[in-house]
């Protein structure tokens, strides 16, 4: 019950913070969608970090380390530290400048202008929206599960649950947990717009970073009978070789996993956050601090994950020893079990708040981004002859935010657990569009046909590989490309082929087709044209 009270207090506080940002709302569409380019370095750092980190950063990383060892840090965290900052630096700063100069609020507006092609939205819009919706669904379902796990036993009369599965007794059902989280996020995004989202993200990022470190210290000090340092040393000594090394990780998969973080270059919600920056200078702090923040959040979680495999942890938390890695979802229970077994219900509540913070700090940006895209790229473009008053812009953005929340919540009730397997495919899809945004910013010779062909090639390769993965009948996330060289088979992430195809098609078709008019190119490359 104490955990539930802590979670409820956290959600109330968050709501109050998000709603209070409404006091600064000027009423303009630009303010609602982009906070009038007023966000400074610290809030930009927190917004970008909070948006790119999901529940996986806390619960998933611990579970993956418990299952497969330390390799997950190099595969997903240190690579992101290098590549995310590279994207902020190479893409974010330039897109911010063009966005501010030409008044863009969405990626599609940039591509329409850069390629002098209003119709490119018809191709990009469904691709971007469908991938963001998969991302949102995973967050909504994950939030429901977190609320369910951490409220276990709190309401035995209200939610009797299934007595055959004791954790479900008295727990808030997942459908209700997802609904509560959707309503909280909806309220602060609806009233606060981008400013509310940035405020809430800053608060939430601080919460999950601090709580991650506190959780680590409390668990480490309670893992054994010695002091914290001695406990950590003893636990590490007991960790098996498989978890301390990367013997089970393919070197080529490790290498090609590095293409996945390129996805941030094409996340539409991140693009919108970039545009909120007060100045180009505001990007400097996020570019520098992002890799360090990733390390601060991920390293403690990975250590907890490998310690959870030891006899020492099993003795301290007996249910851990009974967890079967072959049973789906077991990995996601490791961190909650450590917290419940080795800390107080108050810290359990705070950790749940931290995990929810990580989920909500991504959800809010995604809801706002889809509302903005529907308003600017559909209603304004095709139903309002390209012009809208501030009042209409805010009205339609809010309307679409409500609809997006409602529709994704209704989808989540169908319990499409398969969306978690789609995560890496969703990221791969965004990554496969990286050559397009990179060329749009750095290659004046990019043509309209080259851009269209690249998008179609990326989507076609994605679909072909996805269907190939589907046909194997194995988990979608486990699908790898195999290339035989000199009798040795090398595994690659599917994203490698997607990027290779989309980049090659972009370059070849651009070189074979007529360049864009000089005035269009000069707008983006003033010195080179």
């Amino acid at each position: 019950m104490i955990s539930t009270v802590v979670i409820a207090c956290y959600l109330t506080l968050l709501l109050a913070l998000g709603l209070s940002s409404n006091r600064l709302f000027s009423g303009s569409g630009k303010d609602y969608q982009l906070a009038t380019h007023s966000i400074g370095p610290f809030m930009l750092l927190m917004s970008l970090f909070g948006t790119t980190m999901t529940a996986f950063a806390l619960i998933g990383s611990t579970g993956e380390a418990w299952q497969n060892g330390i390799g997950v840090y190099g595969k997903m965290a240190s690579s992101s530290g290098i590549i995310h900052s590279l994207c902020f630096f190479l893409l974010g700063v330039r897109l911010w400048r063009f966005g501010k100069e030409y008044g863009y609020a969405t990626q599609i507006e940039f591509f329409q202008d850069r390629l002098a092609s209003p119709r490119i939205g018809l191709l990009l819009f469904p691709i971007l929206v469908s991938m963001v919706i998969v991302y949102i669904l995973a967050g909504v379902l994950g939030a429901g599960t977190v609320v369910n796990v951490f409220t276990s036993g709190a309401f035995p009369n209200l939610f009797p649950g299934n007595p055959a599965s004791p954790p479900s007794v008295g727990a808030v059902p997942t459908w209700l947990g997802s609904g509560i989280i959707c309503v909280v996020v909806l309220l602060y995004v609806f009233f606060g717009g981008m400013r509310g989202t940035a405020w809430a993200n800053t608060f939430q990022t601080l919460v999950f970073m601090v709580l991650g470190v506190v959780t680590f210290l409390v668990i480490a000090s309670n893992l054994g009978d010695g002091g914290i340092w001695e406990n950590m040393r003893q636990a590490s000594e007991m960790v098996g070789e498989r978890w301390k090394t990367r013997t089970g990780t393919s070197k080529t998969v490790f290498l090609t996993y590095m293409f996945i973080p390129l996805s941030v270059g094409m996340f539409p919600h991140l693009f919108q956050h970039w545009l909120t920056a007060r100045s180009a200078e505001a990007f400097k702090l996020p570019v520098v601090a992002h890799p360090i923040f990733i390390m601060l959040v991920w390293v403690p979680c990975i250590m907890l994950g490998i310690w959870a495999t030891t006899e020492m942890a099993h003795a301290a938390v007996p249910p851990l020893g009974r967890l079967d890695p072959e049973v789906p979802d077991s990995a996601n229970k490791v961190l909650p079990m450590l917290v419940k077994g080795l800390s107080s219900p108050i810290l359990g509540g705070f950790l749940a708040a931290g995990v929810l913070a990580a989920i909500m700090s991504s959800l809010d940006s995604q809801f706002l981004c889809l509302g903005t895209m529907f308003t600017n790229n559909i209603v304004k473009e095709y139903f309002a002859q390209g012009t809208m008053s501030d009042k209409q812009t805010v009205f339609w953005t809010r309307t679409f935010i409500v609809l997006v929340v409602l529709i994704t919540y209704l989808f989540s009730l169908l319990e499409p657990r398969g969306v978690f397997g789609l995560g890496v495919w969703c990221f791969s899809g965004f990554s496969s569009l990286f050559p397009l945004v990179f060329a749009a910013l750095y290659w004046p010779r990019l043509t309209r046909a080259g851009a269209y062909a690249s998008i179609i090639a990326a989507a076609g390769t994605w679909l072909w590989l996805f269907l190939s993965a589907w046909k194997t009948g194995k988990p979608l996330a486990d699908y790898l490309l195999e290339v035989k060289v000199g009798g040795t088979v090398y595994d690659f992430m599917p994203v490698t082929l997607m990027i290779l195809v989309s980049a090659t098609v972009l370059v070849v078709v651009s070189l074979l087709t007529k360049p864009l008019p000089e005035e269009t190119v000069r707008k983006f490359f003033p010195k080179r044209a």
């Binding site: 600064l24 906070a35 009038t36 380019h37 007023s38 966000i39 400074g40 370095p41 610290f42 809030m43 330390i70 390799g71 840090y73 190099g74 965290a77 240190s78 690579s79 530290g81 290098i82 900052s85 590279l86 630096f89 190479l90 700063v93 330039r94 400048r97 501010k100 400013r195 340092w229 950590m232 040393r233 590490s236 000594e237 960790v239 978890w243 301390k244 090394t245 990367r246 013997t247 070197k251 490790f254 290498l255 590095m258 007060r278 100045s279 180009a280 200078e281 400097k284 570019v287 520098v288 601090a289 992002h290 890799p291 360090i292 990733i294 390390m295 390293v299 990975i302 250590m303 490998i306």
Partner: protein, 79 residues
Amino acid sequence: MSNYSPGAARLIWALVLLLIILHQDVWFWESDYLVLGIMPIGLFYHACLSMAAGFVWYLATLYAWPLDDITSAKNGGDQ
């Protein structure tokens, strides 16, 4: 204003490339050595790589910043 210079920018990009190469640390792949008796060397190395990435990006903001900041907004700091 940044201290942009083409030579320094080339050096920064060489360092970014080096980070990407150093990320493929086959040399610690199978080592189970524990740094300070606690952290597996493979994890410690990658944590250091994250710190190094932060430092390289710091240098990039000093010497290879792509824009002169002439468009700062007038309305104050974080809101």
